[in-house]
Symmetry: C2
């Protein structure tokens, strides 16, 4: 049973679950993947902690992982990119495999030769180097917004969490286009709030966006139903 | 922490969670309601069991309730109308309050004097009399589709579970319009798959539809955050 360490934010967790369901080949309830989901919305802000401006979320992440274990989860996913700063610490404390969202993204990218990958993420994810480090291991170089652009991305992410989608969409579209214009062959939506805001964006931008939430959802379906062809 | 006994079907559970989040007044993650959700997609078909054509889902419902208790839930909701046939049996086995979806619906209806309420539901929900009994206690009379109409509603519900939304929408719209034309002042979408299919329907039909999923979501927000004004 898939355990989802979620609530960061709550709507991003719902978006993730929908993507797991959509990528599962099923014609009735009973063919779907069983999930237990903790929407632990009270986990302290991950970016604030990485920047040294807020409390450590690790105790709350660990407590939520315990709840998932108690409920019977056998494999864990965290639909929050920034929380992956604590991936190794969490993995060290559980026998259950915790899928890594950046690995799931790397599995969806084309060949790495000379490819520059744009990354739209929280300031915490960028400061912690989560994508820079993990994608470098697979041969990719990361392109990031400049300081003003990064501040705008973070502001947009907070707008999504507050339900102000239209304002967030305008900002994120502009920053994604700037990364593509600067030479990124693909732009990763590396915060789970971002695909919620960019769900309706059209080509040509659409074609170069990589949805980290969807990549993790596909990895979960593959892990929970090995050997099954994914639904398109 | 709200415990959601879900997975019946999986997409209906996601729809329910989204409605809980949307009706919670919150401007950041930490203001949202904590939830633990079991998407127990393997619970046997509820309608088949009520009609004597399939295995009893009560043991699987009870096992899922145990998982929610183990994870720390303090209040339970089931976003599946048909599963409420086992509401009393489940409530008898747990100290946690289990909200009743038909009571949540009744709380959203206008004054009962002479009001006839149309009910679109699974054949199991209709055969078990879940809405007829519960709404009669509050002074409402139920209007139901005729046999051919009920068969069509059940077919449409299965189409939603299989991801075939457009076909389901056409059938459900026709059956809802028939109930309204037969004198129902309101038509309850009393299966959690139905609002997924009728999400985009317009007035005048829209105005007379009552979404049982949304009613349950509002009741959960009120139960988990007493004294808080609901978001519109």
């Amino acid at each position: 049973m898939l355990g989802v360490l979620g609530g960061m934010g709550p709507m991003a967790t719902v978006d993730f679950m929908e993507k797991v369901i959509r990528h599962t080949p099923a014609s009735c309830d009973q063919e779907h993947i069983r999930m237990v989901v903790c929407s632990a919305a009270d986990i302290p802000d991950r970016t604030a902690a990485i920047l040294g401006e807020g409390p450590d979320p690790l105790p709350a992440l660990r407590a939520t992982l315990r709840r998932l274990e108690a409920a019977g989860a056998t494999c864990i996913a965290m639909p929050c990119n920034t929380a992956h700063h604590w991936h190794a610490a969490l993995q060290a404390g559980t026998p259950l495999p915790i899928l890594h969202i950046a690995d799931a993204v790397a599995d969806r990218l084309g060949p790495p030769e000379g490819a520059r990958i744009g990354v739209l993420a929280t300031t915490g994810t960028v400061a912690a180097g989560i994508y820079q480090d993990r994608l470098a291991l697979r041969g990719y170089a990361c392109g990031l917004p400049d300081t003003g652009g990064q501040d705008a991305v973070m502001r947009a992410i907070r707008l999504v969490k507050a339900g102000r989608l239209a304002e967030a969409t305008a900002i994120l579209r502009r920053e994604a286009e700037a990364l593509a214009a600067a030479g990124a062959g693909a732009v990763v939506m590396a915060c789970t709030e971002i695909p919620v805001a960019l769900a309706a964006v059209e080509d040509p931008l659409r074609a170069c966006l990589v949805d980290a939430t969807e990549a993790l959802a596909r990895a979960c379906v593959a892990a929970c139903r090995p050997g099954t062809a994914l639904a398109a």
